[in-house]
Symmetry: C2
Subunit: 287 residues, 2 copies
């Protein structure tokens, strides 16, 4: 992949990515600051979420920035909810009795018709285009859209329709599903590693986790995802009873990005920053 | 009305009411504190809004409190949006091209089919009951549900179906509409005055406006509505470019309620506080 993008083999490529834009004002505000003032160079937007219009307005005005869509099929927080972009009657298998997405990926896997997953994913992309966002890629909130071979086929199909790379790693090659196999071709972007902090590493310190990770980054295409947000009243209320990926966690992600050390390590390690826009234009849309 | 509730004629009755619960965490948190620690004694909830689950959980646990529904047909803020509870295909005339409610009551009046208004209002009530809220009344966000005779007939009809009083004042008697006239009967609650701060009075000082109003309250059934919320990052972002009923305005409403003076005036003036639950049980549901 490095060579196809014009870099020597063995180059350590990095997309430094913020997930969950649109979920909250706190998330939007912190992610925008990190995109403008830290090495963070890519982000993805949750179209069904209440704060989508805020980040869509920003994306329209900042067209060189790298904004993809965080395909959303779950609504995981306890007291703050959203549902599909599609008219609910058309995607009944994606929603619970209150009309919201399920909280858990498990529930989605149990109940969702993959055809309805495809409809909803397509409508999220259409809504983003109607909002004049120059979409650079698709990825999957909580991994839901790539959590079964059937959903993955829908996710890849929608990406193909719009000429967009979708976040996938090597696990896609193990999926015994014709819909997936038929969509894998020379234009498919498959990243070498999807990297993110987990609860057991968070406990040992976010700053140490991220700085060690960057110092020991392996060659080829690395995708590091974070969730920058401010640890404030809004985010605390959203993440109530959920410390993992919660309000303090997101503040720690923001703090690492904004620390001088994040930029210094990337420079000292000669890590080459790339964006989904490059992948879209040089790989996915290559003739 | 005072006598029907068991008070001497000429008693000054007051419902001190918070609108817009569910719109934001800031609004929920400030309104809950004011309900617990100030003379505020009633509130209404916006069922379609993202923070509905938070206030619904609180209402379930605090069943003696007076919670009604703030029937919502508009989504008025610039960067933060919601849409109908009903599947969008069934209420197409209530939503814009992005699937949200219109921002303006004018747009609703221009485009909405009153039959679809009725469907949506009914589904908001049903969803609140499914969330186990002991609904005490209905009122109308931005007055939208009572802004035309046709909408008012739908709003009153839905109230009647569930045995709930709906907020109306004397203007209802002037509506030349059979649906409205046929629903007016001895069980209808019509308040004598709907009182609230407006931009020109806000400019002269919220505290002075509210304290003067309470000191000069007229006899019979007064409904005073406020919008308590905290002037914080979330509320500022919601109300961006909209100082009227904006973040500082809502903080001023909260501050007045929580000031000792609000309680002192009510006591000194011998104002009798009543709730929608009393009106519901003694008037709307009287045999």
């Amino acid at each position: 992949m490095a060579e196809r993008l014009g870099y020597p083999a063995g180059t350590r490529l990095l997309i430094l990515h913020a997930d969950d834009l649109g979920v909250a004002h706190s998330e939007n505000a912190a992610s925008i600051t990190a995109l403008e003032k830290s090495p963070l160079n890519s982000a993805s937007i949750m179209v069904p979420c209440p704060w989508f219009p805020e980040i869509a307005a920003y994306a329209r005005k900042n067209r060189t920035m790298d904004f993809g869509l965080h395909m959303t099929l779950t609504s995981e927080w306890k007291n703050y909810k959203w549902g599909p972009v599609t008219s609910k009657d058309s995607v009944r298998t994606l929603v619970n009795g209150s009309g919201y997405f399920y909280a858990l990926v498990d529930s989605l896997q149990n109940y969702a018709d993959p055809k309805q997953v495809e409809i909803e994913l397509r409508n999220q992309v259409k809504k983003a285009y109607r909002s004049s966002i120059d979409v650079t890629h698709l990825d999957a909130h909580m991994g839901a859209a790539a959590s079964t071979p059937e959903f993955t086929a829908a996710y890849m199909k929608v990406g193909k329709e719009f000429g967009l790379p979708v976040l996938l790693d090597g696990r896609v090659y193990a999926m015994e599903h014709d819909g997936v196999k038929n969509l894998l071709d020379g234009n498919t972007v498959v990243v070498d590693r999807i990297l993110y902090m987990e609860p057991h590493t968070y406990e040992r310190g976010a700053h140490k986790f991220y700085s060690d990770l960057l110092k020991n980054l392996e060659p080829d295409l690395n995708f590091l995802l974070l969730h920058p947000a401010y640890d404030n009243a809004e985010m605390q209320a959203i993440a109530i009873d959920h410390p993992d990926y919660g309000s303090q966690w997101r503040q720690a992600d923001y703090d690492f990005l904004m620390s001088g050390e994040c930029a210094e390590i990337i420079k000292a390690q000669n890590i080459k920053m790339i964006t989904w826009r490059e992948l879209r234009d040089k790989i996915t849309r290559a003739k």
